[in-house]
């Protein structure tokens, strides 16, 4: 699935990834790829601004950490992020129902 196919769903996918535990940007990209069975063809560079957008919205919190001599920005989902994730999941399920109903006819 390409970027157009998941338009508007990237934030929800990132939140779902972070629900499994805190992670840095590239780990999130890798997790998205693995959890989608390599079917998600996303311009991975867009994950970084999406993380900043989510941070601005209060859905994730980010902080720089030092690990093995390498500085990395690690993100964790917040309570507001969990609420947004539930909302995003619900919205996706509704869209899926609508698409199935329309395409199935």
């Amino acid at each position: 699935m390409d970027a157009d196919g998941i338009h508007g769903q990237l934030d929800t996918l990132i939140l779902a990834t972070l629900k499994r535990g805190e992670a840095h940007g590239y780990a999130i990209i890798t997790a998205l790829r693995e959890h989608s069975g390599e079917r998600l063809d996303l311009p991975s560079g867009t994950v970084y601004p999406a993380l900043r957008r989510l941070e601005r919205a209060g859905h994730v919190s980010g902080k720089w950490t030092q690990s093995s001599g390498r500085r990395r920005r690690v993100y964790a989902i917040t309570d507001d992020g969990l609420t947004a994730l539930d909302k995003g999941r619900q919205s996706w399920l509704t869209l899926r129902e609508v698409m199935t109903a329309v395409l199935g006819t």
């Binding site: 996303l42 311009p43 560079g45 994950v47 970084y48 900043r52 920005r73």
Partner: protein, 199 residues
Amino acid sequence: MSDYVEAVARPLRGPRRLRADMLAELADGFDEAVAEGVTSGLDRTEAAGRAAEAFGPARAVAAEFQRELEAAQARRTAWTLLAVLPAMTILWDLFGGEGETGLAVTLLARVIDTATAAAFVTAALVIAGRVGSRAASLCGASGLASIGAALAGSVAIMLIADPAGTPAALPFLAAASAAGSAWVAASSLRALRAARAAA
């Protein structure tokens, strides 16, 4: 910095520290993608090309980053307006002298106050999150309009006001106003530049 990260960085306008912070994070991820390619057997140039392809068009990534920089600059300019404009108004109220100034001067002062109030309200709405994607351009424009009205109004007042009513603290007020105006104007221009880069 890799060619890819440089291409993303080039069009970005906004708060310097945030820009550097975002680019450092992107560069870290890009380096990791390149290292992954090298580990899988590619040479460094091929790995960098593969990573750039996976990260997507630099212009699209830059556009997403620019939206964040624009939002951050809008908030920064809004705080500047909220802090500086009332301070300048209070200074003039405290040290600007009293007495009969005449209708023209009173009207000009009201024009300045109105422009200041409009910029203040715009800034407050931006901080409250009530202004959407146009926050930076609105903040920048209202900040400049406020300073423009204050400068034009002040010059006009100086020309038509009775010199006998000139406040004793005028040099201090003029210096403080010049500093405040320069601060607001610089921040407003940065907001407009960030908004233009995001357009």
